[in-house]
Amino acid sequence: MTNTILSANNVTKRFGGLTAVNSVHIEVKENSIHSVIGPNGAGKTTFFNCLTGFYKPDVGEILFNGHSLVGLRSDQIIVLGIARTYQNIRLFANLTALDNVLIGQHIHLKAGWLGSALRFPSTLREEKTALVEANRLLNFVGLANKGNQIAKNLSYGDQRRLEIARALASKPKLLLLDEPTAGMNPHETEEATLFFRNLRDELNITILLIEHDMRVVMGISEIISVLDYGLKIAEGTPKEIQNNAHVIEAYLGRGSAGNVGKDQVAAAPAI
């Protein structure tokens, strides 16, 4: 529980004159649920993109279980054990749910072009196992019976679930969830929160979470890092964050820090 699985040191990403992520230092402990919060445009998703190889940070070092991630492509990073979901759901929209999950297993399957074309006995066995695994994952996220549906025809909540199933198919050690409860109603959000905790408790997956819903964040995170204008302005347990003057200022504006309590931060909606 005390091992650091991911450590980002001094990570900076600039787009022209804009510094989206500015010298951010974040350490994620193994088996923890770690949240990254901050107002819109704070650089949270950019930070995720740096971790998963979508962007290459301009400055800084990212270590995952001792491997440096900087300069690796996203297809190399997932092999190390980092999977992610996307803020605006990015499924393979015209494929079935089952195919989406099967694609998630890509790195664990071995069939090459020859095996794919000729379907050797070993390929056949592998496909069979993959299919069973895909069905298991669909059941696990609550999409039993929906495997043959085209991804884009699924309901919004189901699409979010499918995205998580696809990410889990790669058997990650660290799962990055980018606003997984956006657009869900309070009941669904509650279910999702339980589900994330299960992921960690049962599958021993470390979770790094970007989230706007403070009930979720405060409910399940062990550590929260707060970004604002690309800078990390605070880090600590939910309790510490709720009382942090910088955080309150970032969310509610200057001058608020003195006279608002933790309730307002806790109740702060997705700003």
Partner: protein, 556 residues
């Protein structure tokens, strides 16, 4: 109420303009030379009437909320206006001499459009009258129940198709005794006989109408079959299809049919290859003809004694495929980072580069420049020479079988899924661990290999190859057959090739209008059925459900 007439008038005018356009470009007159039903109605007249009829159908549909009376009014008005516009045009041609600009405005055209009446005014009135009646028929067609309408449509299309195909059928079945007699009885002179047309119409109508009742029960029965039963059904129907494809050309023993089927087959091979690149992996390749050319030229150089070639076809074939694959990789490398429209332009450039290289003086000592390569020997197996189109058809058939087999397996495999993931969302595909470089290169390479096979057979089929055979329009045709058949769909490729390559063969004498019809068909197709004639279906798999550890069962 006045407002209601605006739309029918507009639609009628549009149909009138289309009719005038078709007349001006000479299509109506050329088509008039072929009769659908001998001495009753010609193909030219059918085209005109169909224009008016469809317009009236649309006009009636536009009034569907205003009751039957208005719908008939709208249909009639649309027909009246369409016929009126055409009549006005004819009247104008008698006042002004248009021949200087529109060379097709001939006396024969006027004569045909005025229904061969001596008095112009009478002819024009007949024309308008017929259009109006056609408009009413269009409305009636809209009002008939869809089941009947569909059967009518199918029956009509069958009569039209058979009427037009007289020549072809007569030639095709000339060597098959009883069919030749049957065909002779259906036709007279220049088209179907009246009795022939009526019997075809009645038979097809009845069959279609009956099928519409038993269709869904039959489909339900098939769907309810066990996986094993479905497999048996599929394999039997496949075997039957294969047997038909295998024996038909031999039974007909007709060089022309063999030629057409070989051409269609070559395009099916190319289509299956491009289907992997464009349909599966979503990489728009407009220079696909290059690989076809590479396959053909490799075989040409290696086998033609004129070029110092010493190999036979079977030795050259694997080399041709390998070189096509190699060029697939070579094309792939520079375009890896390029997406969408830009990719189309770059690949188009590649296709042209290959053609221009082949044409160049620089490579003339090897590839023969504009003179091409001649004297490519025919393929032989144990002394049997694949000389004529019918024999070569069998090589193509076997090639298609192998390629279809590979394509089906590839589609439903780890690689196939990776291609589709790249097609759907390249970035996410990469983040799922798919190596974009390799996945795209292998798509280009496998696509190229299929075109290489096609090109190799093409070379031995013709014995002579020229750079002229490898122009840009081959790429476009292959892409068009994919779009027409249904992107990503393997049966769609076959249907598409029949439509794009096979169908024009039937209308050789109307060659001038090929691209007009072709373009119009694509436009209509994209409007009505953008997913293609036989769209890709998602494979439905059996879902396994893992229940929680079952409670001990009490009953058995």
């Amino acid at each position: 109420m006045k407002n209601n007439l605006v739309q029918p008038i507009r639609i009628g005018l549009m149909s009138g303009f289309i009719a005038i356009f078709l007349a001006l470009i000479g299509m109506v007159e050329t088509f008039d030379k072929r009769d659908v039903i001998s001495e009753v109605i010609s193909l030219g007249a059918t085209v005109l009437l169909l224009t008016i009829l469809s317009a009236a159908y649309l006009a009636a549909r536009g009034q569907s909320k205003n009751g039957v009376r208005w719908m008939f009014t709208a249909g009639a008005v649309s027909g009246l206006v369409g016929g009126g516009a055409l009549a006005l045009f004819i009247f104008t041609t008698t006042l002004i001499d248009m021949r200087g600009v529109f060379i097709n405005v001939k006396a024969t055209l006027i004569k045909m459009l005025t229904l061969e009446q001596e008095v112009l005014a009478l002819g024009l009135m007949y024309l308008i009258g017929v259009s109006t009646i056609t408009g009413l028929v269009g409305t009636a067609l809209y009002l008939t129940p869809s089941r009947v309408r569909q059967a009518l449509l199918v029956a009509f299309l069958c009569v039209l198709a058979l009427g037009v195909m007289q020549e072809l059928l007569r030639v095709t079945f000339a060597n098959v005794g009883f069919l030749a007699d049957l065909i002779r009885s259906l036709y007279e002179k220049n088209g179907l006989s009246r009795v022939g047309a009526a019997s075809i119409f009645i038979v097809t109508f009845t069959l279609t109408f009956a099928w519409s009742f038993i269709q869904s029960p039959v489909q339900a029965r098939i769907a309810a079959l066990s996986p094993r039963g479905q497999f048996l059904l599929k394999s039997t129907s496949f075997l039957l299809l294969f047997a038909a494809l295998f024996f038909i050309p031999k039974a007909l023993d007709n060089v022309y049919i063999g030629e057409v089927m070989s051409n269609v087959g070559l395009f099916i091979l190319m289509g299956l290859g491009l289907n992997i690149v464009v349909g599966f992996a979503g990489l728009l390749d407009l220079g696909y003809v290059a690989f076809f050319a590479i396959g053909a030229y490799t075989v040409g150089v290696l086998t033609s004694p004129e070029r110092g070639g010493t190999l036979n076809f079977w030795q050259a074939l694997p080399i041709a495929i390998s070189i096509a694959v190699l060029f697939g990789f070579i094309l792939g490398i520079p375009v890896l980072k390029i997406r969408g429209d830009y990719l189309a332009i770059v690949t188009m450039g590649f296709g042209e580069i290959i053609r221009i290289l082949v044409l160049s003086d620089f490579l003339r000592p090897w590839l023969g420049g504009a003179g091409g390569i001649v004297g490519i020997p025919k393929a032989e197996v144990l002394g049997f020479k694949f000389a004529g189109p019918i024999e070569i058809y069998y090589i193509i058939l076997i090639g298609i079988l192998i390629v279809v087999f590979l394509a089906i397996r590839l589609k439903d495999s780890r690689l196939g899924r990776a291609w589709m993931a790249v097609r759907e969302d390249e970035d996410v595909a990469q983040a799922m661990g798919i190596n974009l470089v390799w996945t795209k290169l292998i798509a280009f390479a496998i696509g190229a290999s299929f075109a290489g096979i096609s090109g190799a057979i093409f070379a031995t089929k013709l014995s002579t190859i020229y750079p002229q055979s490898f122009k840009f329009d081959v790429s476009i045709n292959v892409l068009a057959l994919l779009i027409l058949g249904g992107m990503g769909s393997i049966p769609g490729v076959i249907i598409g090739a029949l439509m794009v390559v096979g169908l024009p063969e039937l209308f050789r004498e109307f060659d001038d209008f090929l691209f007009l019809v072709y373009g119009a068909a694509l436009v209509v197709m994209m409007q009505l059925r953008p997913e293609g004639l036989w769209p890709e279906t998602t494979r439905l798999r059996e879902l396994h459900h893992e229940h929680a550890p079952a409670e001990p069962t009490t009953a058995d």
